[in-house]
């Protein structure tokens, strides 16, 4: 059983790596902004599988933190990437 879960974790990790190829290729900003989301959902699954395989229940708390912070990071990406698109009236004017 633990072996199977570890194989599944390795497989999901490989899928995340595959997805990162797209993030690297781009071409648009939207593809790049997906990185934090991809890594978020992927590494949460890897963590949970890894934790269940090794019997380390505290890993769930790490996954919980990761879920929150990945959401924060990806929304910050979109916010700042979009803010610099808009004209100077908005964010570019320091006062």
């Amino acid at each position: 059983m633990p072996d199977f879960l570890l194989w599944a974790a390795a497989f999901v990790l490989a899928m995340v790596a595959l997805g990162l190829v797209r993030v690297k290729l781009g071409p648009g900003y939207a593809d790049r902004m997906m990185a934090a989301q991809l890594l978020g959902s992927g590494s949460i699954a890897v963590l949970l599988l890894f934790g269940a395989a090794t019997g380390e229940t505290a890993v769930i708390d790490v996954a919980l933190t990761l879920a929150l912070l990945a959401a924060f990071a990806s929304s910050a990406f979109v916010h700042f990437a979009a803010a610099r698109e808009r004209p100077a009236a908005d964010a570019e004017d320091p006062g």
């Binding site: 990790l13 995340v16 890594l39 590494s43 963590l47 934790g51 790490v62 990761l66 004017d93």
Partner: protein
């Protein structure tokens, strides 16, 4: 069997590190860096450091990423100029040789590490019962090496003073960072209304569970600080002017309580930061509770940056 997962993590980690260095634009490099930070949390789990994994997931992935992306958005115009000054081939080759030499030297050191490894785990295991906390990391941070944690809190305060000292003269006492405006009825506004209540509960849970399980004040405070910043980014609230009295009190209350308890230790058990027998756990909790608001404020304000507008909203 774990070696397959771990090798995969190592490969991805090195690939992402290379990405952050060779990426053409700062924005792309930061995307790689955030992915790298999230992946580092997996490394710490493999290295049996759940507490460190929590810290890394919170700070490496989220907080540092948001800090860098905010700066990159403002400094975008200077990137082409910096690219024009890129160093020539001889410098690159020399840098490659130097960094490869450092890496190889470190790798050799790793391979000849002494066996059996020196460890303080036995000392921690022998004395942890005297502290009353169940999590060995918390016991080290707040009892055995409490002076490190005190100095760390002071380093954070000093870093914030450093950031504030960059304020242009006219704006001293003003509000940090720029005013974020977003449509409060848009999706981002909605997101920033729903996520923070959940985040606050998770942050307090991580803080509270730190006494006996992995977790603690730094991790909890980071989560709370990011939720605060989310509300600021969505334009639902504004950063407080740095001259506010409650803010100043909040910034020093943690270190002051810490120092006061440390000085009280000089009187009763006879050494700085020594806890009287039987009172270790209540005193540790008092320090943690006092440090919590200080850490949230400092981490959030470090992210917000130096004041650059007046105190009026």
């Amino acid at each position: 069997m774990t070696i397959v997962v771990n090798s995969g993590v190592v490969f991805l980690l090195l690939a992402l590190a290379l990405w952050t260095v060779v990426a053409r634009e700062a924005f792309l490099a930061i995307v790689g860096f955030v992915a790298y930070g999230l992946l580092l949390a997996l490394v710490w789990v493999s290295l049996s450091g759940i507490d460190v994994a929590l810290t890394e997931a919170a700070i490496g992935g989220g907080l540092t990423g948001a800090l860098l992306i905010g700066a990159a958005a403002r400094l975008r115009a200077t990137e082409t100029e910096a690219r024009a000054q890129a160093c020539g081939r001889p410098t690159r080759v020399l840098a490659l040789v130097v960094s490869a030499a450092v890496a190889v030297a470190l790798a050799l050191c790793v391979l000849v590490l002494p066996d059996p490894a020196p460890t303080l785990a036995h000392e921690v295991a022998a004395d942890i019962d005297a502290t009353g906390v169940g999590n060995p990391i918390t016991a080290v941070l707040l009892a055995f090496r409490a002076v490190d944690t005190l100095l760390e809190a002071l380093v954070l305060v000093i870093a914030l003073i450093g950031v504030w000292s960059l304020t242009p003269d006219g704006f001293w006492g003003g509000r940090p960072g720029m005013r974020h405006r977003a449509n409060p009825d848009g999706i981002f506004g909605y997101f920033a209304r729903v996520l923070p209540p959940i985040g606050v509960i998770v942050g307090i849970y991580i803080f509270w569970t730190g006494a006996d399980h992995p977790g603690g004040k730094f991790q909890g405070a980071t989560i709370l600080a990011t939720m605060w910043m989310l509300v600021l980014m969505a334009g639902l609230a504004d950063a407080p002017p740095i001259g506010r009295r409650w803010l100043r009190i909040g910034l020093v209350v943690g270190p002051l309580v810490f120092i006061a308890i440390g000085l009280a230790g000089v009187l009763v058990p006879g050494a700085f930061l020594a806890y009287p027998a039987g009172f270790a756990k209540p005193l540790i909790i008092a320090i943690e509770v006092a440090l919590m608001p200080t850490l949230v404020l400092i981490l959030g304000l470090l992210l917000a940056g130096a004041p650059e507008r007046g105190a009026r909203p």
